[in-house]
């Protein structure tokens, strides 16, 4: 019967369309997750969101630009639930682009438990992030502290001479997190 054939043909067409659409659904579900690495790559390239590099930069060899000075401010805060004292030992410093500086942060575990802390940096304005070069930073590693123990943590950095002229002040903010749970597991 021709109507049966027609019926079959239309069923075929239907299942073909359904398959394609289901494929799109799964692809978009995957795309949602693909946005996570894409976002990181995008931020890496553009320095968006004030994310700085997570590995050490090499020592500056391009010389120092003494024609201008840049103010670098340091801010620290502790995330909810970490009973540490955590603060920069100097709040503000002026540097020439290319000039290397060493500053220290003080941390003390004020609780009766051993805790592993992790500092996460962020630079404001965001576009200055890729010009902020850290040669040595306590944020590259986690920091374990026994109960009541304290430590002075070092940050060695320079500001790249390529930094846009209009940026006069850079604020570096560290947030300290308790990562004891995730390290142990």
């Amino acid at each position: 019967m021709s109507t049966e054939q027609e019926q079959k043909a239309s069923d075929n067409k239907t299942s073909k369309t359904v398959k394609k659409l289901v494929l799109v659904v799964f692809a978009m579900f995957g795309f949602g997750f693909a946005l996570v690495p894409l976002y990181d790559v995008f931020c890496d390239i553009t320095g968006l969101n004030g994310k700085t590099a997570t590995t050490a930069a090499s020592v500056n060899e391009d010389g120092i630009d003494e024609s201008r000075t840049i103010t670098v401010q340091f801010i620290s805060r502790t995330a909810k639930g970490i009973p540490w004292q955590f603060e920069p030992m100097i709040n503000e410093i002026t540097v020439h682009p290319g000039e290397m500086k060493l500053v220290k942060f003080y941390a003390k575990n004020e609780s009766v438990n051993d805790i592993i802390g992790q500092a996460v940096p962020s630079v404001s304005p965001g576009r200055a992030a890729i010009y902020f070069q850290k040669i040595e930073c306590f944020c590259f590693n986690s920091q374990p502290l026994k109960a009541q123990e304290d430590v002075e943590m070092a940050l060695q950095f320079y500001v790249d001479a390529e930094l846009p002229e209009e940026v006069k002040t850079i604020t570096l903010s560290y947030t300290l997190y308790d990562i004891t749970g995730s390290v142990e597991s």
Binding site: S10, K13, T14, T17, V18, L21, V22, V24, V25, F26, M28, F29, F31, G32, F33, L35, V36, Y39, C43, T46, L48, N49, G50, K51, T54, A79, K80, Q118, V120, S124, G126, R127, T175, Y177, D178, I179, G181, S182, S185
Partner: protein, 535 residues
């Protein structure tokens, strides 16, 4: 033609597919009209429930100070109100229209995948049971806003995140199945002669909406899954301590969220584009430009998401890009408003209830669009962000926009659904009460927002007291007015003036070629080609 259709359906009933009785009819039904009815009732019940939550919000905000509810419960009210209205009322209502009308409008006997259609409706009540049940649990309902920003919904969650995530998963699955069904139906089951450019605009707009749904609902499912694993399984998608980024949550959420707002308005455009020509007794002005405008709005919706995030510290280039792209959407939207007005221009207009709601839609939606343009301006958005101005904006587009179009559509097709005309006096009362109260409710919110009243806060500074009182009074009046609609619908189902097959003399389309009420089965054999006029 009409009697033939009825005759056909009787014959068909004799072969197989006897209508079951009682609850089983509704549980097992695969009939697109039954499922459409279920969707519409479900949406209306959710509207009343979400409305009741809004009433509690307005009771609390009637006076400054904390009177009736705790701040945490207030947060739960605003969150669940938003979720219910978006996912429980507006979206299912449009899917209900799609189920009822699309097969009839394109001359198909049913949806392409009737069994899946049944599933996509019947999982919805479970989703909302989970969401609403969380009110009665120790943790309380979700309190992090309908936008569920991390870390509010992860680190600082009150423990409702899992219920919320599962509820959203189920809603998402339901929407995706519904969307697949619509696309397959439209692509494969159009009557011979029903070319794409002859399809009624409601079919077109829902076709494009369905594509938006399958593109972004999976992203929503992905982002809530990330929340779930962040909260309970130790991942760090949005947790800076583990290398994640909370701002990324906003990017992924709004990549879903902005197309979502067009999912809620494009079908409204379709309904209004159907009704205005019927009561202006003219063909729709610029049919093909309407189709292209809809498609370009849908496309643009994917590249404007970050205009919700101007204050998160984007680079200047990003802000300008998203600002200009957002402004660009005003062009196709303007084309639409122009076309509606041009359709009415020199038409022989009559002002039945569907037309009144449609005209109110055109005017009030445009106001909502203008406040949207103001919000799109990056420099001023810094002032308006997270104030009542935003609340005013999205309620103008969602209530006087989407909801009014749903009412317009409901009044327009009620005679076809029930076989009776609605009660004239009561429906007029419903329209005028709604129109006046909705403006008392939402218009002063513009001023509150411009003066700096923040949203989602249970208390406010004294200088906002007078406006808030008026807003609350408008809110109660608007809420009560919706009960008139319930009475109208029940009366219309029970009886009333018998409706003709085509009760509106300017109406066009295949749905008017079958009897009123529409027989259980329509277009078992495709309609006559000469009935398909096109626009």
């Amino acid at each position: 033609m009409t009697t033939e259709a009825i005759h056909d359906s009787h014959e068909h009933d004799d072969h197989h597919d006897h209508k079951m009785t009682g609850i089983k009819r509704w549980l097992y039904t695969t009939n697109h009209k039954d499922i459409g009815t279920l969707y519409l009732w479900f949406a209306f019940i959710m509207l009343l429930f979400g409305g009741a939550l809004a009433m509690m919000i307005r009771v609390e905000l009637f006076q400054p100070g904390l009177q009736f509810v705790e701040p945490d419960f207030f947060n739960q009210l605003t969150t669940v109100h938003g979720l219910i209205m978006v996912f429980g009322a507006i979206m299912p209502a449009f899917t209900g229209f799609a189920n009822w009308m699309i097969p009839m409008m394109i001359g198909a006997p049913d949806m392409a995948l009737p069994r899946m259609n049944n599933w996509s409706f019947w999982i919805l009540p479970f989703a909302f049971s989970i969401l609403i049940a969380s009110f009665f649990m120790e943790s309380g309902a979700p309190n992090f806003g309908w936008t569920f920003y991390a870390p509010l919904s992860t680190t600082y969650s009150n423990g409702s995140t899992a219920f919320f995530v599962f509820a959203v998963h189920i809603m998402g699955v339901s929407s995706i199945m519904g969307a697949i069904n619509v696309i397959v139906t439209i692509m494969n089951m159009r009557a011979p002669g029903m070319t794409y450019m002859k399809m009624p605009l409601f079919v077109w707009t829902f076709f494009i909406t369905a594509y938006l749904l399958i593109a972004v609902m999976p992203v929503l499912a992905g982002v809530v899954t990330m929340l779930l694993t962040d909260t309970y399984f130790g991942t760090s998608f949005f947790d800076a301590a583990g290398g994640g980024d909370p701002v990324m949550f906003q990017h992924i959420f709004w990549f879903f969220g902005h197309p979502e707002v067009y999912i809620m308005i494009l079908p409204a455009f379709g309904i209004v584009s159907t009704i205005i020509p019927a009561f202006a007794r003219k063909r729709l002005f610029g049919y093909s430009s309407m189709v292209y405008a809809t498609a370009s709005i849908a496309f643009l919706s994917f590249i404007v998401w970050a205009h919700h995030m101007f204050t998160t510290g984007m680079p200047l280039f990003g802000e300008l890009f998203f600002m200009y792209c957002t402004m660009l959407i005003a062009v196709p939207t303007g084309v639409k408003v122009f076309n509606w007005v041009a359709t009415m221009w020199r038409g022989s207009m009559t002002f039945e209830i569907p037309m009144l709601f449609s005209i109110a839609f055109v005017i009030l939606f445009t106001i909502g669009g203008f406040s949207g343009l103001m919000l799109a301006l990056t420099p001023v958005d810094f002032q308006y962000h997270d104030t009542y101005f935003v609340v005013a904006h999205f309620h103008y587009v969602l209530v006087t926009g989407s909801l009014f179009s749903i009412y317009a559509g409901a009044y327009y097709w009620l005679p076809k659904w029930t076989g009776h005309m609605y009660h004239d006096g009561l429906s007029k009362a419903h329209f005028w009460c709604s129109l006046i109260s909705v403006n008392i409710l939402f218009f002063p919110m513009h001023f509150l927002g411009l003066a700096g009243m923040p949203r989602r806060i249970p208390d406010y500074a004294l200088q906002f007291a007078d406006f808030n009182k008026w807003v609350s009074i408008g809110g109660f009046a608007f809420g009560l007015s919706q009960l008139i609609f319930l009475v109208v619908v029940i009366k219309c189902i029970k009886g009333g003036k018998k409706a003709e097959a085509k009760p509106w003399d300017g109406a066009e389309g295949l749905e008017w070629t079958v009897a009123s009420p529409a027989p259980y089965h329509t277009f078992e054999t495709p309609p006559n080609a000469e009935d398909i006029k096109g626009q």
